[in-house]
């Protein structure tokens, strides 16, 4: 029975604001072809497939129906997780450990550009009895959380704005990123207020794209790949979905998911034992909140660390060298897939201009967005 599982293949189409020339089928087919080539496998070698899709994001009830064809999974074991990509990764991981084949494929996709009523859709996710009738914008929920986080930790708007500047600048060197741009602090601070203290620039624009990842059990991984990236720890957690009962200042879901992953990986001092992280920065303050929740920074310290450049590519603990959601685009249920992809690229030395030096262990973290309190974490090593 396999004890260790590694990522042996990754494939992506890259991420950009619109993809009018291809449908979801071609998008996934491209990512899958690249991933299988990278891993040196064919669909017939695969024991199980997991796709990631939420019905309303795809525009189909039962998005699952449209998953097998473009992965080569016709009449094979495949199902869909309406959740984050890292949930699917965890499922594939557990299936390999349970003996369902040696190789598993995980897929995620975003066609956010096709969703014309995104705000309406997120509102549709709120509690129909207690929350929706208030007709609040989903950005209001993020704004309230930002305000509470700033109050409890002393984080300032300037520190949040620095996250935006850093990530969008990092994205300029990332050929996969769709929203890289050079801006200064004032530009962010003076941008249109959406839901104070949240401004337009604090919010990630969205992108389309697809990612496919191939996992293999230890023996197979070593046979097929000379750069297997090992899954050392994985965790996921859901806090209460109620707006009325949640902790607004702290991202408890991230803390519990990270604890689960650290325990599995045998990590006691994350700041020292992990070299860099790709984490969810869908809203600028989220990067700081998540860093503190995962004990990479103490409470109130993530802002000051950003001030001194500690999270820059050249800093002590690089965060989102790829550009994060702010620089690459919000990919909805694919966000986790993008994070995993970037961590793998870094650990393999394939990250081009944004390459970090001497990295052995990276952390990918994801959150499912407003109004959820669900988060996932995976720790990878080369």
């Amino acid at each position: 029975m396999a004890k260790r599982v590694a990522i042996i293949g990754i494939g992506t189409t890259g991420f950009r604001a619109t993809t009018p020339d291809v449908s979801y089928r071609e998008l996934t087919y491209e990512a899958a072809t690249k991933a299988y080539l990278d891993a040196g496998i064919e669909p017939k070698d695969v024991g199980s497939f997991v796709s990631t899709a939420e019905d309303f994001f795809e525009g189909y009830s039962i998005a699952d129906e449209y998953s097998p064809d473009q992965l080569g999974a016709v009449l094979k074991p495949i199902y869909t997780i309406p959740g984050d990509f890292i949930h699917s990764l965890a499922s594939a991981y557990m299936m390999i450990l349970s003996g369902i084949g040696d190789i598993s494929v995980v897929q995620g996709m975003s066609k956010a550009s096709n969703m014309l009523a995104l705000s309406e859709m997120v509102t549709f996710a709120m509690d129909p009895i207690y929350n929706r009738p208030l007709k609040e914008s989903p950005h209001a929920v993020a704004g309230m959380e930002m305000a509470r986080f700033m109050y409890e930790t002393g984080t300032t708007r300037e520190q949040c704005a620095k996250v935006v500047v850093k990530n969008k600048r990092n994205a300029l060197n990332n050929p996969l990123a769709g929203h890289g741009v050079l801006i200064n602090l004032d530009y962010v601070l003076n941008s249109e207020v959406i839901s104070y203290p949240l401004t337009q620039m604090d919010i990630s624009p969205h992108s389309d794209g697809a990612v496919v990842v191939v996992l293999a059990a230890e023996e197979t991984a070593k046979a097929l790949s000379d750069k297997p990236i090992w899954i050392r720890g994985i965790g996921w957690c859901s806090d209460t979905p109620g707006l009325e009962t949640r902790n607004w200042g702290e991202a408890v879901y991230a803390q519990l998911a990270a604890d689960m992953a650290y325990k599995m990986a045998g990590i006691r001092y994350p700041r020292k034992e992990i070299d860099f992280a790709e984490i969810n920065d869908e809203f600028s303050y989220k990067e700081l909140q998540h860093l503190e929740a995962m004990r990479i920074c103490k409470k109130g310290e993530a802002g000051p660390l950003t001030d001194i450049g500690g999270t820059e590519i050249t800093g002590e603990f690089p965060v989102n060298p790829s550009g994060g959601c702010l620089g690459v685009g919000n990919l909805y249920e694919l966000n986790g897939g993008h994070k995993v992809l970037e961590v793998v690229r870094q650990l393999r030395g394939e990250a081009g201009k944004d390459q970090l030096k001497n990295v052995t262990t990276g952390l990918a973290q994801s959150w499912r967005g407003v109004p959820t309190t669900t988060g996932t974490v995976v720790i990878l090593s080369n």
């Binding site: 071609e26 669909p43 525009g59 009523a117 129909p128 009738p133």
Partner: protein
Amino acid sequence: MEITEKDVAKTATKLSANEILEGKVLSVKWEPKLKYAWDNGPAIGRYLAELKNGRIIAKKCDKCHRIMIPPRMFCELCWVPTGEWVYVQDTGIVNTWVVSYVDWKATRLDIKGGVRPITPAVIEIDGASKGMGILHHLNEVDPWKIYQGMKVKALWKPPEERIGAITDIKYFKPI
């Protein structure tokens, strides 16, 4: 640990549809306004463009030699990109069909009042590989006289009304 009547009795409270509609229980209503603009990609995009021209187009897999409709950029069974575009005919045979007395909302049609039942069918298109069917409607035929293998032909909308959609074909009718 048998599960008994007593165990389930208090788990759910039965309501009738009328109690809800007449407001006898508190309820909340919401009508989602969900809009999508789906990118169709090169394969379906061409399919629709050709429908506007009054033609049906398919695509061939060079490995398994299937001529596939609707056209696709890759063969899902061989896992290779497809090859040439192939025009197929707008005639076919009925593979299987239905005589429906309800519409998509499960509302009963007024059959007794003379409304014709809806007769959707899977039609195997001539020129495509055996078994390659598309879903469409049948009309101008007695619903109870449809049979497997019946030969049918597409009835197109006039060119100025076509927009590049599957509905550019109004329905199929027996030859």
